[in-house]
């Protein structure tokens, strides 16, 4: 993906440490104070009971409790489901839309702006809006269903354990398709025109052109978007918090909401246990991202 950069880097023989330090120090300080130190402190917390006025070393007790914590595993399942479905939906739909737009539709600029609006709104705003959209009595979805004579399908979308998680996943897809599409569009536009024109001259069918010419060319972008979306969903908190708070029956509990609840909402003041969740989750996310990049690399090797 990256061009051979070191060659382009200014390759002086000396290492001007003074200058380097001056340039890096502010960033490294912020990083050490507000990212690295807290991360290590969380790890340290995870072996302790951390109460407001006392801390107590309890070894692996938090970890053994966590392994048997059904709510936690439920949250892990929900989050991973979300993080696996979302990227596929978002990137696929976005790619189709981008291809359609690439065909030089009039008013492309307007479409591009309209499709981007959902990303600009915060999850808080989006959450409130969609609570209304899913409203049982007057939400547009149920209103439309009833108007179509499908009133039987109308339901409290966020209140039913069967539909709550899919309903939330749908919201994130609605939000992010536009973003993915705009990025893909730019990628398509940056492709050498000759390649696509050549494919057209060859009288290649639309589908064949897509699979054999376009897809391989934008693959790097696609993968970036998939990973980006995946990471975003592994973190998800705001949307759940403003809509369902993890309910009903933990159907939408994510790891983020569970950590928050255990740290700041449950009737314990203990920060050790939520730190344990955070630590274990960190390991899981790290593993997943590594596996994901590795899988992509592997395919890269296979194909070339």
């Amino acid at each position: 993906m990256r061009e051979a950069m070191p060659a382009k880097r200014h390759g002086g023989l000396r290492q001007p440490w003074g200058t380097i330090t001056a340039f890096l120090l502010p960033a490294l300080t912020v990083y050490a104070a507000f990212t690295a130190y807290p991360a290590f402190r969380t790890l340290w917390n995870s072996f302790h009971k951390v109460l407001p006025r006392r801390e107590e070393f309890i070894g692996l007790a938090n970890y053994t409790e966590l392994l048997q914590d059904e709510i936690f595993w439920r949250a892990v399942r929900n989050t991973i489901t979300w993080a696996c479905i979302s990227p596929l939906v978002e990137v696929t739909v976005a790619l189709l839309l981008a291809l359609a737009l690439y065909a030089r539709i009039p008013g492309a600029r307007f479409f591009r702006i309209a499709w981007f609006t959902p990303v600009l709104m915060s999850y808080i705003v989006v959450g409130i809006l969609w609570v209304w959209i899913y409203n049982y009595d007057w939400g547009p979805i149920n209103v439309a269903l009833r108007a179509l004579g499908l009133g039987g399908l109308a339901r409290a979308w966020l209140g039913d354990p069967d539909t709550a998680l899919p309903a939330l996943i749908f919201i994130t897809s609605w939000m992010w398709v536009g973003f993915n599409m705009v990025v893909l569009l730019a990628a398509l536009h940056s492709l050498p025109k000759e390649v696509i024109e050549a494919a057209e001259l060859d009288n290649c069918g639309w589908g064949a052109k897509l699979v054999f010419v376009v897809l391989p060319l934008v693959r790097a972008t696609l993968l970036n978007l998939v990973v980006l979306s995946f990471i975003g969903k592994m973190k998800i908190f705001d949307l759940v918090w403003i809509t369902t708070k993890g309910g009903p029956l933990w159907a939408t509990e994510t790891v983020s909401t569970y950590v928050y609840k255990r740290a700041f909402e449950w009737t314990t003041f203990d920060l050790g246990y939520p730190s344990t969740i955070a630590t274990l989750w960190f390991v899981i996310v790290l593993g997943a991202v590594l596996a994901l990049t590795r899988a992509f690399r592997l395919r890269e090797k296979l194909e070339y």
């Binding site: 407001p52 409290a156 354990p161 449950w266 009737t267 314990t268």
Partner: protein, 423 residues
């Protein structure tokens, strides 16, 4: 090393932090309180603050009004951070405040003016920590006109039999009405009232207490029978389709204004919203309110058992720099006079001693009804989430408040999961 580095930078950074203007006033007590949306209670507290400030010009009380969830979230972090206000709103279920030594010992309060059971609710390891302003019972409200239209007469004893109640639900449903307005969109307890009142009657106070404290199994046949009865009610269409998302405030208007429901199961603080002006979410002027007892359940051990709870209370911050002033302020409430004023204005019971006989007008009528449904009652103190802690509480809330009344979990499964969490 990293820690040191962080400390170092933060110390440097700390120097540049602009500290806010230092408080010029001599003594300002900060008060964080719930009831942002409950104008009547707000008026009462604000009046009391003004009164106190006139009598004590050297002290100023600065209240901040919150919605309950926001207040609790803010307090949890602020207390830990040592930045909590001098006074704040709490309810006696928040044992963790006392366990962690966050609350001011209120032994010096004028307890003579407080109901002993209310003091008891706030007593932890022998010391009292909260000033119990509000007390409440779970009441079954109904719309008199609709009940007449249905042709059902509420018996003189005010309590329907299990079958008669089920029948009532079915009749109302057949008419196209929602039998009972109830919603759990923003509270962890309204849906649970249905089941816990039934369980309390079925088991009696002693066994019910055991159940909540994990000493009686949720799979006990009596418990399962009761769950089945409650399920028969919800299966007959007792609750609105919007049950899971309906907020507490919305449930009120659902009951008395639009679209109207036959009944409403709620704390006796119903008044704090319903007695507002109609355009502020209050009930219509011509609304005919009735109250009956919670129906009996099949094979009840104690048909007259019911819940009374201490609700909104004020507590002091253990770290406050103005202990004397905090107690002085709370003591300004702790009089029978103030108790009566609470009753008259807010129209909810109080932990302060008071005399409903002195009331006049609308409030008098309301308290007569409350007195009638409470005649001969045996009380259990506190709703389940005030008694339970940790995981059992979380599971109870998810299931009994939410999923079970919503019908998304079966009786056996619910009992099993609750039992698993209790162990």
């Amino acid at each position: 090393m990293l820690a040191f580095l962080a400390r170092l930078t933060l110390a440097v950074v700390g120097l540049s932090v602009l500290t806010g203007p230092t408080h010029a006033q001599q003594k300002e007590l900060t008060l964080w309180t719930h009831w942002a949306a409950e104008q009547i209670k707000r008026d009462y507290v604000e009046a009391a603050i003004r009164e106190f400030e006139t009598k004590n010009p050297a002290i100023k009380i600065k209240p901040t009004w919150y919605e309950k969830t926001a207040l609790y979230a803010a307090l949890k972090t602020a207390l830990r951070a040592g930045q909590a206000p001098d006074l704040f709103y709490a309810e006696p279920d928040q044992v963790e405040y006392m366990e962690n030594g966050f609350l001011l010992d209120l032994s010096d309060l004028n307890w003579a003016a407080i109901e002993p059971w209310a003091k008891q609710a706030w007593t932890y390891k022998g010391k009292p920590y909260g000033f119990p302003l509000e007390a409440w019972t779970v009441e079954l409200y109904y719309n008199r006109k609709m009940m007449e239209e249905l042709g059902v007469a509420v018996p003189a004893a005010l309590q329907l039999t299990p079958d008669a109640f089920l029948d009532l639900v079915k009749k109302a449903k057949a008419k196209g009405w929602t039998p009972m307005a109830l919603g759990v969109g923003d509270r962890p307890f309204p849906g649970a009232h249905l089941t816990h009142e039934a369980l309390l009657k079925k088991l009696g106070t002693e066994d019910y207490d055991k159940l909540l404290k994990g000493k009686l199994a949720w799979t006990d046949p009596r418990v399962v029978d009761t769950l089945k009865y409650v399920r028969s009610l919800t299966a007959a269409g007792l609750l609105p389709a919007t049950f899971t998302s309906l907020k507490l405030g919305e449930a009120h208007t659902y009951f008395h204004t639009n679209p109207r429901a036959l009944m409403f199961l709620n704390g006796s603080w119903y008044t704090s919203r319903a007695f507002n002006a109609p355009d502020k979410g209050g009930q219509p002027v011509d609304f005919a309110l009735g109250i009956m007892k919670f129906p009996n359940v099949p094979g009840a051990a104690c048909a007259d058992c019911r819940t009374i709870a201490v609700g909104g209370s004020y507590v002091g911050n253990a770290d406050t720099k103005h202990k004397k002033e905090v107690i002085a302020f709370l003591n300004s409430f702790a009089t029978v006079e103030k108790g009566n004023e609470w009753l008259a204005k807010v129209q909810v019971q109080s932990g302060i001693k008071s005399d409903p006989a002195k009331l006049t007008g609308k409030a008098a009528d309301y308290f007569k009804m409350i007195a009638a449904t409470n005649a001969g009652a045996t009380y259990y103190f506190g709703i389940p989430i005030q008694v339970m802690q940790g995981k059992p509480k979380e599971v109870f809330t998810q299931i009994i408040n939410n999923a079970f009344p919503a019908g998304s979990i079966g009786v056996e499964d619910a009992a099993k999961q609750l039992q698993a969490a209790a162990n």
